[in-house]
């Protein structure tokens, strides 16, 4: 019952019912029109017949005289057909015909009339009734009455009961049709509703399971490729994204816990050590100094986390201004030049001048700093040769491309996918990181920031899908995590420098 009620409540059934109602109204109108038209047609045919007969009688009377007419009327009257005939004298008294009684007004004024009639059986007596004399036949007649030249009255007509029977047939078939249509529509509507309901039910069941916590559930997609499948595909894509986000959140939480707990533990240990009874003044002072150091590191981590959260929440539109990217990149390269030089690393820059961008100066600066700090850390070729870093900026169509490349060993192939995830820390030392980051801004200008490690192994101009494995994003937490927001920065595979090749 509840299932029936459910089906009944579906929009499909309601829609079907509405359509049935509309259909019936139109069918009735159509049938009525057809019935009306055909009854008019039949009536016209009957009057035509009557008129033709009347003319025939007139011709017979004119050509052959009254006796021939009386003979013709008598012959036709004895036929069992629908014809109605009456011949009376000038006073209207019955002489001949298959009806004996005709209303007076029909005889007084010639014209067309409809009246109830009775007539005896033309072949004598009808079958005797169970009780009493045989009932005379009767009905409704349409007649034309005329006055002959000698004053006699002739009435010629047709029984209309036949015509009525015809209308009844039309009405009957109409009713059968309508009932059939209603039944058929109800069945079709019900089936459609059930089918739709079943599809919706599967989606509903899946979402219920998901709501109860099983995020790996997916809405089944059929091969029909209809609108429900499109919906299911979209829902599944949404679920994938949600699942990934949740997974990311979990990873972030884990990493944050790691990044914060480790220094907190050290902090606590040092404070404890300072409080120990045998601690000297000197050790206490050192412990306190390192407590400050640890808290500073904590603050840095925390700031980086905040920045990431901010950036992931959306670009701070207020901070976007037209800035000279060329000068930022050049500034940062210059800022780190001496540091690199002290490490025996040469920075080669090729920076196009006057490239502007609607962006946040601090964020681009910070991103550049992160990239360069990583490059300096890892620009140490395996063959022991001198380290080199290339800083490149150019305008390519509607992109601004910023590349920071080093000639270190690069990220191990196994880590290249992983390093694109958020907050990844590569444990092994001596890795070059190869981030390719795209700055997405609201203006036609976008920037792409790239750092490709291990230029000796020249990255192919790979397809989009294959390319991301060539790339990695900065993975030195916390500071370098800054610019690695999925929302603002995405991977731009197509762009590689060919430095040091």
């Amino acid at each position: 019952m509840s299932r029936f009620a459910q089906v009944w409540r579906t929009s499909t059934v309601r829609l079907t019912a509405t359509f049935i109602a509309i259909f019936i109204v139109f069918a009735i109108l159509l049938m009525a029109f057809i019935g009306w038209q055909s009854s008019i047609q039949i009536q016209r045919q009957q009057t035509d017949d009557i008129d033709r007969e009347v003319r025939q009688f007139q011709r017979i009377e004119a050509n052959q005289g009254i006796r021939a007419l009386a003979f013709a009327v008598g012959r036709l009257s004895s036929n069992p057909g629908p014809g109605i005939y009456f011949l009376g004298d000038a006073s209207g008294l019955y002489l001949l015909g298959n009806v004996t009684d005709v209303p007076a007004e029909v005889l007084i004024d010639p014209g067309i009339y409809t009246f109830d009639y009775e007539r005896p059986d033309p072949l004598g007596a009808g079958p005797p009734g169970p009780d009493g004399p045989p009932k005379p036949r009767g009905g409704v007649a349409v007649v034309r009455s005329i006055e002959l030249d000698n004053g006699m009255r002739l009435v010629v007509g047709r029984d209309v009961v036949e015509r009525r029977g015809y209308s009844a047939i039309i009405l009957q078939s109409f009713l059968v049709g309508v009932v059939g249509i209603i039944l058929f529509s109800l069945i079709a509507g019900g089936i459609t509703a059930r089918r739709v309901l079943r599809r919706i039910d599967t989606i509903q069941q899946t979402s219920t399971k998901i709501m109860s916590g099983n995020l790996s559930e997916r809405v089944p997609v059929t091969r029909r490729n209809d609108e429900f499948d499109a919906l299911a595909t979209n829902l599944n894509a949404m679920l994938d994204r949600i699942e990934k986000l949740l997974q990311g959140l979990k990873e972030v939480t884990d990493n944050v816990a790691h990044d914060l707990k480790t220094p907190l533990t050290r902090l606590r240990n040092q404070a404890e050590a300072a409080l120990r009874d045998n601690a000297t003044e000197d050790t206490r002072e050192r412990a306190l100094a390192s407590v400050i150091g640890e808290s500073d590191r904590l603050i840095q981590t925390f700031n980086a986390l905040l920045m990431i959260a901010r950036a992931e929440a959306g670009a701070p539109s207020g901070a976007l201004t037209e800035i000279d990217v060329s000068s930022i990149v050049a500034d940062v390269a210059e800022l780190y030049g001496p540091v690199a030089e002290d490490d025996g690393i040469e920075i080669v820059s090729a920076i196009a001048e006057g490239v502007t961008l609607n962006a946040n100066r601090e964020l681009i600066g910070q991103a550049m700093v992160n990239l360069l700090e990583n490059a300096i850390k890892y620009a140490k070729p395996e063959d022991g040769g001198p380290g080199k870093i290339a800083v490149e900026l150019e305008r390519a169509n509607d992109w601004v491309r910023i590349v920071v490349a080093d000639n270190g060993p690069g990220i191990p192939a196994a880590d290249r996918e992983r390093v694109l995830e958020r907050f990844v820390r590569l444990e092994k030392a001596g890795l070059s990181l190869a981030p390719v980051l795209v700055w997405r801004s609201s203006t036609p200008w976008r920037a792409c920031m790239a750092a490709v490690s291990n230029p000796g192994q020249r990255p192919r101009r790979a397809s989009r899908a294959g390319a991301s494995s060539q790339l990695a994003r900065l993975a030195r937490p916390p500071a370098s995590a800054l610019c690695l927001k999925n929302e603002h920065l995405s991977l731009a595979p197509a762009i590689y420098p060919s430095f040091f090749v």
Binding site: Q300, P316, A319, L335, P338, V339, G365, Q366, E373
Partner: protein, 223 residues
């Protein structure tokens, strides 16, 4: 130096007052925006340290009102809001410097002392000299004991900033902010490397160094 501290966190305030006192400054304290504004406009201070979020009256509105009354006392804004936008609004409201919580006291002290100097007339000087070192801002010439020293443009700006604040401690963050215009902490010793280059150009071959490293705080140029 006379300092007014408007800060609602009593613990932070008493710590700051004690530390400023040890550094030789007289510090008054106001615990909310209204009384802070009354004190700031009623008395003459060298520097105002104003927390951004205060009970009864917002820190930025105090600064705006003071500036509207043509009170040009240097203001250091303290805030837990550290984004670029927040800094920009803080400085636009009339603040002279912006420090994000949490901060090291040495950083705050260095900034307060530099701020107090800023209000003195030496701001407009075209010429700085410390010991035998002189810097001409117009001709962009640097000499030590009559000998011309050639500096890169950035080194010149670095030295210019140090000499403008001669005798005061300048932190690494302050250098990064004022010379490079970046407001974040680099992870590496990037400022130290620049300073050691500058030092080698200025102090090499001279018996008495002018550029000093202040441990745990930053740098200072003095006789």
């Amino acid at each position: 130096m006379k300092i007014l501290l408007i800060e609602d966190d009593r613990e932070a305030a008493s710590y700051l007052m004690q530390a400023l006192d040890e550094a030789g400054h007289v510090t008054h304290h106001a615990a909310d925006g209204e009384s802070g504004y009354a004190m700031a406009s009623g008395m003459d201070y060298d520097v105002l340290i104003i927390d951004r979020m205060l009970p009864r009256r917002d820190g930025l509105s105090i600064v705006e009102s003071l500036r509207a009354e043509d009170d040009q006392t240097p203001v250091l804004i303290l805030s837990a809001l550290g984004e670029v936008d927040d800094r920009v609004t803080g400085l636009r409201a009339g603040g002279d410097d912006y420090l994000t919580k949490p901060y090291a006291f040495t950083e705050l002290l260095a900034r307060v002392e530099v701020l107090a100097r800023r209000s003195s007339p030496s701001e407009a000087a075209t010429n700085y000299s410390v010991g035998g070192l002189s810097l001409d801002r117009l001709s962009r010439k640097v000499e030590r004991d009559g000998e011309t020293i050639l500096l890169q443009p950035r080194e010149f700006r670095l030295l210019e900033y140090l000499m403008k604040n001669a005798g005061k401690v300048v932190t690494r963050t302050m250098l990064l902010e004022n010379v490079w215009d970046y407001h974040f902490d680099p992870q590496t010793n990037v400022i130290d490397v620049h300073m050691s280059r500058l030092r080698s150009k200025i102090d090499k071959g001279h018996a008495s160094p002018l550029l000093h490293t202040v441990r745990g705080a930053g740098y200072m140029i003095r006789d």
